[in-house]
Amino acid sequence: MSIRVRYFANLRENMGRDEENLAALGISTVSDVWKAVNDGLSLPDRILCAVNMEFATPDSSVSDGDEVAFFPPITGG
């Protein structure tokens, strides 16, 4: 098992990929996920996140098998 990490909109372009799998070892929060895929950098305030398709915060807990998504502010409608 692992954590599925997904990126949308300009974040997807900046990361150069739309998703990746991350080993869950040592990961307990959304913030940990971001750091693991961004060389230890902190999650910027303006970036939104979701765990299993529900809005989350950097402190939200993440477990093996979860889907974590990062994206910019929403601009639909």
Partner: protein, 146 residues
Amino acid sequence: MPISLRTERFNPYDELQYYQAHKMNQAGQYGATVCFLGTMRDFNAGRTVRKMNLEYYPAMTERHLEEIIGEARKRWNLIDALVIHRVGEVFPNDPIVLVAIWSSHRGAAFDACRYILEELKSRAPFWKKETLPQGERWVEQNTDGY
């Protein structure tokens, strides 16, 4: 209470007429129908816009639209609701979003339509990327609705 994401251009007036004629069986019960139609402009933030691409988060977008409609149903006495939203390539003058509400009285219909649209704009994951004569840019935020 259907939600529909469309990859092709839709005609909001045909959609309303068809839905009311074939998908609803409460004729005689609704006294108020309120609908909001959002259409793509050919300008934004001081620039000409030629085209737009609407990205979304499959399953999360639908889930949140359903949640928003569910909240509106708890808050107001509604007979039916229809939400259609475009995804993919959109051109100026194309409809982007249709929110239609049927209720016994106008108060609930107006308020629920506004609520669903404003919540959709802040909680349903959609992102717009514009094509300008000068290149492309992501829309960074929606304009205030109030």
